[in-house]
Symmetry: C2
């Protein structure tokens, strides 16, 4: 393989991502592939308004990560950010439950203002990502509001960030009538559908399947586009040894009676995926998916690139036996 | 005079104020009078939207000053504030010409959100001032948008902050048809009119007469309420030795062909005022106003209280000869 043409077989790689885990793997891909061959489609089901600001947590996490400006301790937010605004909010009697750094506020102010002017979220994201020097294509799944709701035993339906951040995903999911509600009538953007139709490789990043990937898959035409494709689609497990690397994936799967393991992830995605990447600590099981077992925990930036490279090599070998 | 009842003759003191100079004198009054006897009416002609935020520079300067949280170097903004948000704005390609501290943004976010919910600016200001522990009554002159426009030789009409901050008040005012345009149909609030009607002492703080005090005076019913009153109305000169302590007062008066002096200030206010407070460096002139000459430069917090005390003593003596 020529150094200048890494993984030249894959001309159009599309990754679906949520927050921190997805962002890290997407960044790994960006470090292995020429920018023009990578599109990252990001969940916006967790977007919400706070202090009147239009906040897109997953989109920002992916953007800051790809831009090399993310806070490496949290995974989200900006490196070197401060919390003076939130401190003043507390002085005004607000409980300031949602972490908004001072630099971070600039992102939300520009987004809010541009959306109010009628600019699409896709174009807002393009402008912000471009200013941060991001060359891969970063696409919100939709330009429509697409608020995911969580159905809890304790409190019924909760807005996503109320469940996820304010109550630190402690409420229990309730399976009936549905544990997670994705709003109807949300349209994938034409850019998203176009990217999927022209993809020659689709990757479900190590994000929460229910909270981060399903909001994308459940958009009309998206699941069909992936199901009917003739190109490989693989997932990277967000679970290692039955534990989520970050967030409530394991807790939610247990609450829904699913097998809490990498195998459970493969079963959950079912026929949508051709293969799954799991950690070496996890057992290969009897499921018929092709499986790559490797170290999937991304501690460092180098880990991201190493994992992405291994995944691309494995897919290349599997596709060219 | 009993210590517990300072200046007991004045049960309802109303001060009209603009930005830094007015804020300092209003703070001096707040240090001399029981809070329930002081109302400060603040110019909102310099209010504007920036990054979608509803910003009230004069109101915030007075509020931060009375709250004891103002930046003492600038006179405006919050003590110990930082500029991370603006730094990020620059990274996004914005020129960040208007100073907005990170803590300061909290004020604007809450104001913007509450205004959008239909809360009046008067009530927004009450909530914010109350949280900062301010006990004197702080009133915006109006709940209506009241944007002052500046008519310049070089560029015609300019929005106030475009002239004042972005172009650092360098353009030259043009007298015809009018150097400064105050919008019609802006209503003083009922709280403002009520305070003026019940005032037993009215003070025009050392603010720019054209840019800060006139927007208040030019509201329908305000000038009449002050003209027809039977209570003392005095002004403190914003000029010392023919120079503005801060801002463009002297430059504007020169451009308009007015006498650039404390005497010129007295002439400008004309019959509206009964007396004027000038600096000892300035000459008492032949104008018929009662005049107090003292050190009117407020360098320290103690200066504010000392000047306010001297002014109140002088008015008390003048009213009780």
């Amino acid at each position: 393989m020529a150094l200048n043409e890494p993984f030249e077989q894959w001309r159009s790689v599309v990754a679906l991502a949520g927050g921190v885990g997805g962002a890290k793997f997407a960044d790994g891909l960006a470090r292995c592939l020429p920018a023009e061959r990578l599109t990252v489609i990001v969940n916006t089901g967790d977007d919400f308004r706070h202090y009147g600001l239009a906040i897109s947590p997953d989109l920002d996490t992916v953007m800051y990560t790809l831009g090399g400006v993310a806070n490496v301790v949290n995974g989200w937010g900006l490196d070197g950010d401060s919390a003076q605004m939130l401190g003043m909010m507390k002085r005004y009697g607000d409980d300031a439950w949602f972490g908004l750094g001072d630099k971070d506020v600039a992102t939300h102010l520009l987004r809010t203002q541009w959306l109010m002017q009628g600019v699409t979220l896709t174009e807002v994201t393009r402008r912000l990502a471009s200013a941060l020097g991001i060359q891969a294509r970063l696409l919100p799944m939709s330009d429509d509001p697409a608020p995911t709701l969580i159905n809890t035993v304790e409190q019924g339906l909760l807005a996503f960030q109320e469940y996820f951040v304010h109550q630190r995903w402690q409420p229990t999911l309730q399976a009936h009538p549905a544990p997670i509600v994705y709003p109807n009538n949300v349209r994938a953007t034409s850019q998203v559908l176009d990217a999927l139709q022209h993809a020659d490789l689709i990757i479900l990043c190590p994000s929460n399947p229910m909270l981060s990937i399903d909001p994308i898959l459940n958009l009309p035409a998206v699941r069909d586009a992936i199901s009917q494709r003739r190109v490989p689609c693989i997932a990277i497990s967000p679970l290692i040894g039955g534990q989520a690397v970050k967030g409530p994936a394991a807790k939610i799967m247990a609450e829904l009676g699913l097998e809490v393991s990498a195998n459970g992830i493969a079963q959950y995605y079912g026929n949508l995926i051709d293969g799954i990447v799991i950690d070496t600590v996890d057992q290969r099981t009897s499921n018929s998916k092709q499986t790559l077992a490797t170290d999937i925990l991304m501690r460092t930036v180098d880990d991201r690139a190493r994992l992405a490279r291994e995944v691309l090599q494995w897919i290349t070998q599997s596709a060219n036996p």
